[in-house]
């Protein structure tokens, strides 16, 4: 398998505050230098809690946000210029809130036509044929094309969002919490549709979510993000079943599971570090039961640990 997406040392720093002369008074590192590879045809799940930088990462990957450092390579070609139109042909984005990702004053047809016309200069007749094809593959009726976004339910709107991403003919989709705004009974429909489309069009997915169970159910591999850094990457069936990083274990133990008694897996009142004033060393050290002085002074780097798993921890959990 080839690499569909390769990112090297990608990071993003945001300026914060404003002094009298409009200069920023400080910076926040939303994404620490991050290196990841996504294979052609695979689904890489990215999990993390709020504030872990997963949305910032996603927006950099489609060119909506310029990275502070690092490189993005898509299907072998480097794309560092943060030009969404250039990215758009290769990589597309499916948004979390399906309704607000559709312009309320345009018909679905107008929304669907934009990428075909602007990215691929497709003539009108061909556009209409292509839209019909795509609509068929996402199980939407063609009569929907002349309606406006507010006439659709969340699930339908999300299918339209997926159809729009497919229209750009991109082979990599960034799915940013694609089902978290949907009801559970509709969520499964969309997840299954995504699985079918992946097979049908040989797509590569980057599936971002805070819902561990959903990520586990759809991904081949999972990367766990904490405070802007990847702390663990591994095969989906192992990451939560046999976590190596203490944070991954904390996540897995916190998820409410039927048949498991309620226990707080963690001491009281532990919180995320202050992004304006990040700790030295491992960001998780303050919450970690295994932390040592080394953890508090040195930053662990991702290192292989067993088959296909990499962990950024000095004291990984070994079976």
């Amino acid at each position: 398998m080839t690499d569909a997406l390769k990112i090297t040392d990608l990071s993003k720093t945001f300026p914060v505050g404003r002094s009298l002369f409009g200069n920023p008074t400080g910076t926040v590192k939303a994404v620490h230098p991050l290196t990841l590879t996504v294979l052609q045809g695979e689904t890489l799940g990215i999990v993390g809690e709020s504030g872990c930088g997963k949305s910032t990462l996603a927006r950099m990957l489609v060119g909506l946000l310029e990275p502070s450092t690092g490189h993005i390579e898509i299907e072998g070609a480097a794309l560092d210029n943060a030009d969404p139109a250039e990215f758009g042909k290769r990589i597309q984005y499916v948004f979390q809130d399906p309704i607000s990702s559709l312009n309320p004053r345009k018909t679905i047809r107008q929304i669907m036509e934009a990428p075909l016309k602007l990215l691929h200069n497709m003539p009108a007749a061909e556009r209409s044929r292509r839209i019909s094809e795509i609509f068929a593959s996402v199980n939407l009726r063609e009569e929907f094309l002349d309606r406006y976004p507010h006439e659709f339910s969340g699930g339908q709107a999300q299918r339209i969002g997926i159809a729009r991403a497919l229209a750009a003919k991109a082979r990599i989709l960034i799915l940013d919490e694609p089902v978290s705004a949907l009801d559970v009974s509709v969520q499964a429909q969309v997840l299954n549709l995504l699985a079918d489309l992946r097979r049908e069009f040989d797509l590569t997915y980057l599936f971002i979510s805070h819902d561990l169970a959903v990520v586990e159910a759809v991904s081949d591999r999972i990367a766990v993000l904490y405070f802007g850094s990847v702390v663990e990457v591994g095969p989906a069936e192992e990451v939560f079943a046999a976590p190596k990083h203490p944070y991954t274990k904390l996540l897995a133990d916190s998820a409410p599971v039927v048949g498991r008694p309620l226990t707080a897996p963690e001491a009281e009142g532990t919180e995320l570090p202050d992004p304006l004033n990040p700790p030295s060393g491992c960001a998780f050290a303050a919450r970690c039961p295994n932390a040592t002085d080394k953890c508090r002074s040195e930053t662990p780097r991702l290192a292989p640990l067993g088959k296909g798993t990499t962990v950024a921890c000095f004291h990984p959990i070994l079976d």
Partner: protein, 626 residues
């Protein structure tokens, strides 16, 4: 568009304003062809003629000019100048605002600094300075009025544009390959135009007043030409001796501006989507109760017993039956889970108990909620208020939105106590600290002085729980208290709730959509679908062997951690909209076990051995256990 005019016409005041304005504009347009005296011909022998005199219906002014004619021509002029100034200011202001708002960053900074600079003047000073430089005259007054209003439009439109430019559909347009100018024209502008129209329709009247004002000061239209403002200005010296020369143009301005304002308000209301949906109405202190029938009597089970509760939302002519006859009860010290998807009526059920459903549009149309034998639904507001927080208290979903942003958390806790009994300052503080300690907030003595925004989501929700505990209630109703929290924080908060319930013997009604949470926390569970309970029973029984097909399928379609990569059992279709529920079973449309008899008649919740199912063909126990 048609919808807009229908909406506008339905607003009677706006219609009145529109008709009056249309008449005035029409008269102004045809003024040149009306048989009126020349407005500028003076006849000093005929000066200050009173109204209703032959030959001069509205009398004459200090130079003997016909007032009717002058008012008509003046109206023409005032309207033209006012509209021109409004259009000029709106166009220029909107263009500046859109550019600043869309491009942001440095462009925005520079433009908005300039706008701030202009807004630092009381507007008339700027207008006076401009007129002073250009010299008095109607056209110069128009320029001055338009110029001083540009910053107001620019700032307003910029704010709206920033909001739209951050919407996801603009990102999507970028990814579809649109250039900035195309995005502005096809994505931003169509969404901003309603706001521009609103801003314009509500400021035209103001613009007319301002130009009239400059003319009144003698800085606008110059004699002999007169607009309404300069007519007033000229008449001022004869105010006491001949008031009608002042009253005539003054009333005319009042009529014009008032009709424009009425119409403008109508336009605003018709274009504002929030008003359309009735979302801007104020919720009353307690939900409106309008029960057609006498509610069923209490049967005496449980501390809190809800009987045949029906709550509806009346929006325009539609009636949404959010809760369509719910029975449930909770015992002392018991935790009852209510589970369902959004729109299933679970939250509305919970909020109805203490009359906290927003009303309008909510109305409780039937049933009762008995607390210790006393019906809360029918209780007078004073009694209800007295019991809120003291006997039954609530914990809500989003802890940032549910705490008052401008009061310290300690003060909000003390207020919760003080609402029910007088308490001194020191005692209140001590009690607040004690409450924060009860929910295990570290460093409670210091955190009591925090504002909500200074706390993390988990800490805020602990404050929410502490507030619910303030008066030692018997029942806590928790409406999705952990949905907005991260999993690790959720685990902490759930543990606290569980321990509190055991140590204090609290009854909890826990509303959620998460089976995992229900399994860990609740003794019994009720599953809701389309406003009704479809299944209820002991948590373990239901989770082990669901009998209603909806419960079974809902559980199957939620992935559970530890299952690995797999295909999910999706439920086809959508939940029904509660303003047109089908006859029979609401789930029939999506159910794979559906039979013809599912679609007719009312289907009752059949209770047996502490287990209730609302289904004609339930999954039998053996099947369900598999």
């Amino acid at each position: 568009m048609t919808a807009f005019f229908v909406l506008l016409a339905r607003n009677r005041l706006a219609l009145l304003g529109g008709i009056v304005l249309a008449c005035v504009v029409f008269l102004a347009l045809i003024t040149p062809i009306l048989p009126l005296a020349d407005p500028d011909v003076t006849n000093t022998s005929n000066r200050f003629q009173p109204v209703f005199l032959d030959g001069a219906l509205l009398g004459t002014d200090h130079l003997g000019r016909d007032l009717l004619s002058r008012v008509m021509w003046g109206t023409r002029l005032s309207l033209a100048v006012g509209f021109a100034a409004a259009i000029a200011a709106a166009t220029i202001g909107a263009a500046i605002g859109i550019i600043a708002g869309y491009y942001g960053g440095r462009t925005d900074n520079i433009i908005m600094r300039g706008v701030d600079m202009l807004m630092a003047f009381p507007y008339i000073l700027l207008a006076l300075a401009i007129v002073a430089a250009l010299g008095p005259g109607l056209f110069n007054a128009l320029i001055a009025v338009a110029a001083v209003n540009v910053p107001f439009f620019a700032r307003n439109i910029r704010g709206i544009t920033v909001g739209i430019a951050n919407k996801e559909f603009v990102d999507a347009a970028r990814l579809a390959g649109m250039s900035n100018s195309r995005i502005i024209l096809s994505e931003i502008l169509p969404n901003v135009i309603p706001v521009i129209v609103i801003a314009m329709s509500t400021t035209i009247g103001w613009m007319i007043l301002e130009t009239a004002g400059l003319s009144f000061l003698g800085l606008g239209s110059q004699p002999p030409q007169a607009d309404l403002g300069s007519m007033l200005g000229e008449a001022r010296s004869a105010l006491i001796t001949n008031p009608h020369t002042s009253i005539v143009p003054g009333i005319m301005i009042l009529i014009i501006v008032m009709s424009i304002n009425l119409l403008g308000d109508g336009v605003r209301d018709a274009l504002d989507p929030r008003l359309k949906s009735g979302a801007l109405s104020r919720p009353m202190a307690a939900t409106r109760v309008d029960r057609a029938e006498t509610p069923p009597a209490a049967s005496g089970v449980g501390l809190l017993e809800v009987k045949a509760l029906e709550t509806q939302f009346h929006v325009k002519n539609r009636i949404y039956r959010a809760v369509g006859g719910v029975d449930l009860h909770v015992e002392k010290g018991e935790c009852l889970g209510i589970i369902g998807e959004s729109g299933s009526g679970k939250s509305v059920t919970a909020l109805s108990i203490m009359g906290l459903v927003a009303s309008p549009p909510g109305v409780i149309t039937g049933g009762a909620a008995y607390y210790d034998g006393e019906d809360l639904i029918g209780a007078p507001y004073r009694r209800l208020r007295d019991m809120r927080g003291r006997n039954v208290s609530y914990i809500f979903q989003d802890p940032l939105a549910t705490l008052h942003p401008l009061y310290r958390v300690g003060d909000q806790l003390i207020e919760a106590i003080r609402a029910h009994r007088p308490i001194g300052k020191a005692e209140g503080r001590a009690k607040a600290i004690e409450l924060l300690k009860a929910v295990r907030i570290p460093n409670a003595e210091k955190r009591i002085n925090d504002y909500p925004h200074e706390m993390s989501g988990g800490m805020r929700q602990r404050v929410g729980i502490a507030m619910a505990l303030a008066n030692d209630p018997d029942i806590i109703i928790a409406d999705e208290p952990t949905t907005a929290l991260d999993v690790t924080v959720q685990a902490q908060v759930l543990t606290i709730l569980d321990e509190l319930r055991r140590s204090r013997g609290l009854a909890i009604v826990f509303i959620t959509h998460d089976f995992g949470v229900v399994a860990q926390l609740c003794d019994r569970v009720a599953v809701m679908y389309a406003g009704r309970i479809v299944e209820e029973g002991a948590t373990t029984d239901i989770l082990d062997a669901p009998r209603h097909p909806y419960t079974a399928r809902l559980m199957a379609c939620v992935p559970e951690l530890g299952g690995g990569k797999r295909r999910l059992e999706a439920i086809p279709g959508l939940p029904p909209v509660v303003d047109k529920l089908p006859e029979g079973c609401a789930f029939a449309e999506r159910c794979d076990r559906v039979q013809p008899d599912c679609r007719s008649g009312g289907i009752a919740l059949v209770r047996k051995d502490g287990r209730g199912v609302r289904c004609v063909h339930p999954v039998d126990t053996r099947e369900a256990a598999e």
